[in-house]
């Protein structure tokens, strides 16, 4: 097949790693971590680990290994968290009922899945594949207890052959927003009957100069429908009025964190934004940065439409570079995970470290030194050791392992999404190895 992705040849499959993901139930009932193909869920209300019931396992045997390849996206439904979706490289989208943690539906995708979203009314699940197509699944068609497999998504829109990195419904449910590797954020009208496709484009948010990695929303009285914030490989976080695509503010978080040096080494000096997480009132945004041990907190002034750096909470005693962030709308906890799948030179197949920041709200953060808001010790986090035992797979992680994980995490996102530039002679060499050319030359 004359696939355009000629860069696949170079990449060693072994070294391709998947960053760990975290998601928190909106009412803080449970927390989920995905590392590699492992999905680990902990019930915070009852303080116990959740055993996932996969309808595929007819013999009733259950394990955390419900996916067969790296999980790339997990998410709770926004309104009441009754649904949970996980998806990834095994081309399966699993829809879970969070009351029983049974998989109520497995949707088969043609390509690897890169992002998922659940509509604000919980009626539709959307997922995006690596070829830039967004599919919709009608959850009403799913019958309660017994999960149906081999269900298919219906394509509704497409970014032209660009990996979709993030998928979000606007808070009012009117729009579906998709971000891609080609620097674009597309805002499409989500129609009443989405099965016919989302053809009407409301706007494009253009301004990033590298892949867009993550999206989040902030609200305010002036903007009840919300404003959009996006993080990118260009080391900035931007604020948008997504209804018209207007760029309102840009915060160069890489420069602010002191990582932008002018020594010319691009890979090092432009740390990608890996994840964003906003408080419910939208005044505070947590930013995970590719090479920042800790977390950066931005203050968002919605009426002035500005973003500014509030402070950096550094977590350097154990190197902790979060790969994913999550928070609930109730308890003001910011959950962070650092982890990678298939780390080389480690006994652990997949490594994850979970940390929690309490008092994740603006009034608290402003006075971080007082005890209201702080990074919690392992013994103080919700669910205590039990939650770590479940989510990390182990309680204690050696420092060296953690360090090497931190190193791997640094480059993971970037290598995943950045456009590779080849010098002319190398390009010619690579072309020679292309399948559609081989026959002609021999």
């Amino acid at each position: 097949m004359e696939d355009p992705n000629i860069d696949d040849g170079d990449q060693n499959r072994e070294t391709e790693i998947a960053p760990a993901l975290i998601a928190v139930h909106p009412a803080h009932q449970s927390v989920a971590v995905a590392v590699g193909s492992d999905l680990r869920v902990f019930n915070l209300q009852e303080g116990c680990a959740v055993t996932l019931g996969d309808s595929d396992d007819l013999d009733g045997k259950s394990s955390t290994n419900v996916h067969k390849d790296s999980i790339r996206a997990i998410r709770y439904g926004a309104n009441n968290g009754t649904l949970f979706v996980s998806a990834g490289d095994d081309k399966l989208v699993k829809i879970w009922a969070t009351t029983t943690w049974r998989c109520i539906s497995t949707v088969v995708s043609e390509k690897k899945v890169s992002a998922v979203a659940i509509s604000s009314d919980g009626l539709f699940v959307c997922f995006a594949d690596k070829f830039g197509v967004v599919y919709v699944v009608d959850t009403q068609g799913i019958s309660g207890e017994q999960g149906s497999t081999n269900e298919k998504g219906i394509p509704i829109l497409s970014h032209y052959c660009s990996i979709i990195t993030s998928l979000e419904f606007s808070p009012d449910g009117r729009f579906i927003i998709s971000a891609d590797r080609d620097f674009k954020i597309r805002v499409s009208v989500f129609p009443k009957n989405p099965l016919d496709g989302a053809h009407e484009i409301q706007s494009f948010c253009l301004g990033h100069t590298e892949f867009v990695s993550c999206l989040a929303f902030v609200f305010g009285q002036d903007y009840p429908q919300g404003l959009l914030i996006s993080g990118s490989g260009d080391s900035t976080v931007r604020l948008w009025d997504f209804t018209c695509g207007a760029l309102l503010d840009t915060c160069a978080v890489g420069t602010e964190a002191g990582y932008l040096e002018t020594d010319g080494k691009e890979g090092e000096c432009q740390p990608a934004v890996t994840d964003l997480c906003a408080t419910k009132d939208g005044s505070l945004v947590a930013v995970a940065l590719q090479s920042l041990p800790g977390i950066m907190l931005l203050s968002c002034d919605i009426s002035a439409r500005t973003l500014s750096v509030l402070k950096v909470v550094s977590i350097s005693e154990d190197p902790f570079i979060p790969t994913s962030l999550g928070s609930d709308s109730l308890k003001q906890f910011l959950w962070m995970v650092m982890g990678v799948s298939s780390l080389q030179g480690s006994d652990l197949a997949s490594l994850a470290r979970v940390r929690v920041l309490s008092g994740f709200s603006k009034s608290n953060i402003a006075t971080l030194e007082e005890h209201k808001a702080s990074l919690l010790d392992d013994k103080d986090i919700p669910g205590r050791e039990l939650v770590l035992q479940k989510l990390q797979g182990t309680l204690s992680i050696e420092k060296e392992v953690l360090s090497s994980a931190a190193e791997a995490v640094k480059t993971a996102m970037r290598n995943l999404l950045i456009k590779k530039h080849y010098p002319v002679e190398k390009r010619e060499y690579r072309k020679r190895g292309r399948n559609d050319r081989k026959n002609k030359h021999r």
């Binding site: 355009p4 829109l157 497409s158 052959c161 660009s162 016919d196 496709g197 053809h199 484009i201």
Partner: protein, 249 residues
């Protein structure tokens, strides 16, 4: 001075001063799926109008016609004199062809002072970067003349008219704006027509409207591909649709 220059530059024809095609040999096809490494404006506001239309002094004037896959630029040149007050751009993925059109426009501007100031060309992948060049509803007309047919079903997603790409064209077109397609490949003609017919944001022009539109006649006559088809006595299949407002929910 002119004389001297054309002696130095053998790619320009001595008699007409226009660039000669044989110095701009290009492959007939280009892969639209491959990663692009040419510069693209970050947003439409950053498109450099002054370098493309140096004689147009009105800054607020925007491009209204886009010829997607303009090839050697025949249509642009015909349209230029037909709509002298309208800014138009050709978009072409093959860089040698783009170079040719660039030289051709420059030569025409030199040979016909005051004319052909309203046309220009960019090398870009219009399947990826339409929103980087045009704001919502900016365009009045879009042209897709004799596009690459991509016969294999596996390669249908490379076709420039497809259900999903029509979403983006509908975004760039103003309500009432018109999309013109033509091909000499019957299969592709049916494909383009069915894509447009099924799309909720496009409606066909009536027979009368097609007859009254002076541009429709140019579709089969103005471009190099069209002339080639006519020379060989081939048949053409066209589909002309108007951007309508979305269905009321």
């Amino acid at each position: 001075m002119m004389e001297h220059e054309s002696n130095v530059n053998p790619t320009l024809s001595k008699s007409t001063g226009l660039p000669r095609k044989r110095f701009y040999r290009a492959r007939a096809h280009s892969n639209p799926l491959s990663d692009s490494h040419f510069p693209v404006p970050v947003a439409p506001s950053q498109f450099d109008y002054s370098s493309h239309y140096p004689q147009i002094s009105n800054d607020s004037k925007k491009i209204e016609f886009a010829d997607i896959g303009c090839g050697f630029g025949g249509l642009l040149i015909s349209l230029s004199t037909l709509f002298p007050a309208t800014l138009m751009i050709g978009m072409e993925l093959r860089d040698k062809v783009t170079e040719y059109v660039k030289e051709r426009i420059l030569a025409l501007r030199t040979g016909n002072p005051g004319q052909y100031q309203n046309i220009s060309v960019v090398r870009t992948n219009s399947m990826k970067y339409i929103p980087n060049y045009f704001e919502k509803g900016q365009l009045k007309k879009m042209f897709f003349l004799f596009p690459d047919p991509h016969f294999k079903e596996k390669n249908h997603r490379r076709r420039v008219i497809s259900p999903y790409l029509l979403d983006e064209y509908a975004y760039a077109l103003a309500v009432g704006g018109i999309i013109y397609t033509i091909t000499d490949v019957e299969e592709l003609g049916e494909w383009m027509k069915s894509c447009l017919e099924r799309h909720p944001l496009f409606e066909p022009l009536t027979v009368q409207e097609l007859e009254d539109d002076p541009v429709v006649k140019l579709l089969s006559t103005a471009t190099e591909e069209g002339q080639k088809v006519a020379r060989n006595g081939g048949q053409t299949y066209q589909a002309v649709y108007r951007r309508r407002t979305g269905p009321i929910e």
